[in-house]
């Protein structure tokens, strides 16, 4: 007996039992049958035909005058059947796309990977979480022999695959900057020229570039329209904004960036982030910067990486675990 015959017998059995006593059990069995038939890709029109055949065979020919109505039902079900089959094939396509994106996302992770520098006087923590599979955020550390730690954090306006593609380009242009120590303002100026020439004019990139001199403990920085970071002053136990003016990358190739500097004392903290951190939305509106500061204060006694992880957990919770934008947070703490 073929599988279709088995299904048919099963259906007939259910139908016969229900025609006799109209009990709930038969209805439950029908529900199970329905799941099975979807599993075996039996389309709606086939079910109608099954029903009619079963009725006819059960000698329900007394219903003879009603039988032709099934032709209408069957015909009406045709389009549902087609829509159902299309759905099936679109689902397969979607799964293929999904796994393709997963591969791409893994490649991106490798591509954008960066080593957190290991220096005695600093403790550095960093976390970047994409809202979808691929990220439009980027951060990168460079450490040179003279004892400077440079950090770049960038955000492509937009998210998903286009943002990720754009980010890969930034990564390559960073890699092709000349070796050795680079002034933050000059780094931004040269990246700005690359972006202006190579990126679709509708794509904008913000970037913050900082260089921490571990000899003088001065943090030099410049920003291309990037989300302002915070500076935590250990002595007064309060925050100040790390303010830096500058146009986004890719708008005007002649843009000049101003460089700023900040003396860092033991216990002070530099916080850098993408706008996914400050613009993280909850159902009651944006998360206030003050809320963010509170969280940081709450965990300030912890190690840099732990602070980052805890703050992320808090914000994730606030947003009901649905990130709306790529999230990147970097904490640099002077420990001696």
């Amino acid at each position: 007996m073929g599988f279709r015959d088995v299904m048919y017998e099963k259906y007939k059995e259910i139908l016969e039992s229900y025609m006799k006593d109209q009990d709930e059990k038969a209805l439950y069995l029908s529900q199970k049958f329905s799941r099975k038939s979807i599993e075996y890709k039996i389309s709606p029109e086939e079910i109608i035909s099954l029903h009619r055949t079963a009725l006819a065979e059960m000698g329900a020919e007394s219903l003879g005058s009603v039988m032709p109505s099934f032709d209408i039902l069957l015909e009406v079900m045709m389009s549902y059947g087609l829509a159902y089959r299309e759905h099936q094939s679109l689902r397969t396509i979607q799964q293929e796309l999904k796994s393709e994106i997963e591969v791409a996302a893994n490649m991106q992770q490798t591509l954008l990977g960066t080593q957190i520098p290991d220096v005695d006087c600093l403790e550095i923590g960093a976390l970047s979480v994409p809202a979808r599979q691929m990220s439009g955020d980027y951060y990168h550390f460079v450490q040179d022999e003279q004892g400077a730690v440079s950090v770049a954090i960038a955000d492509v306006i937009g998210k998903g695959i286009p943002a990720a593609l754009c980010m890969s380009m930034i990564k390559y242009s960073m890699d092709s900057l000349p070796e050795g120590r680079q002034e933050p303002s000059l780094v931004l100026e040269s990246l700005n020229r690359v972006v202006e020439q190579n990126v679709d004019p509708t794509m904008f990139i913000t970037m913050f570039y900082g260089m921490y001199d571990t000899n003088s403990h001065v943090f030099h920085y410049a920003s291309a329209g990037h989300e302002p970071g915070f500076f935590y002053n250990h002595e007064i136990e309060d925050f100040e904004e790390i303010y830096a003016r500058g146009l986004l990358l890719g708008i005007d190739k002649k843009t000049k960036y101003r460089q700023y500097e900040k003396k860092v004392e033991v216990g002070d903290i530099i916080l850098l982030m993408s706008d996914g951190v400050t613009e993280c939305r909850t159902k009651d509106g944006f998360v206030e910067v003050d809320t963010l500061k509170e969280y940081i204060k709450k965990y300030i006694h912890l190690g840099a990486q732990e602070i980052v992880n805890k703050v992320y957990k808090e914000l994730e919770y606030l947003q009901d675990f649905q990130l709306r934008d790529d999230f990147t947070l970097i904490i640099i703490k002077r420990i001696k």
Binding site: D71, L74, M78, S79, L82, A83, R85, E86, L90
Partner: protein
């Protein structure tokens, strides 16, 4: 048994379906397959009526390797279709991806061939084998 229906107005679609159903029944197709064949004919004939203004749908019997099949041929000298790949994609039809249209026809039958040149017209051949 070979026969054709000219498609000029909407009611010719009904005639084409009727022809298809008769041939399908005579060849021994069951009710579900009959409905599939007539749905395919409907879609093809409706496309002729909507986009080519006029054309013809022919129903033939075919035999190959001991199998019996029904062939639907839809032919017109209308504007043709320039991007066949696009048209055969799921979700493209103007009806908004309800699974109908040409990709739907392709699913309803066992074999589907389409030839179309802009400015020359469209020829579609679809076969359903009797199981």
């Amino acid at each position: 048994m070979d026969s054709c229906v000219k498609i000029i107005n909407e009611w010719d679609i009904v005639a084409a379906r009727q022809l298809g159903r008769n041939v399908a029944r005579d060849l021994g197709f069951g009710t579900v397959d009959q409905a599939r064949i007539t749905t395919a004919i409907s879609e093809l004939a409706r496309n002729i009526y909507l986009y080519a203004e006029q054309g013809e749908v022919c129903i033939e019997k075919t035999e190959s390797g001991g199998k019996i099949g029904l062939v639907i041929i839809s032919e017109d000298q209308g504007p043709g279709i320039s991007d066949l790949r696009k048209v055969m994609e799921d979700g493209f039809s103007t009806s908004g991806g309800l699974g109908a249209g040409l990709p739907g026809v392709k699913r309803l039958v066992d074999e589907f061939h389409i030839e179309s040149n802009p400015g020359e017209g469209t020829l579609i051949k679809a076969i359903k084998w009797l199981r």
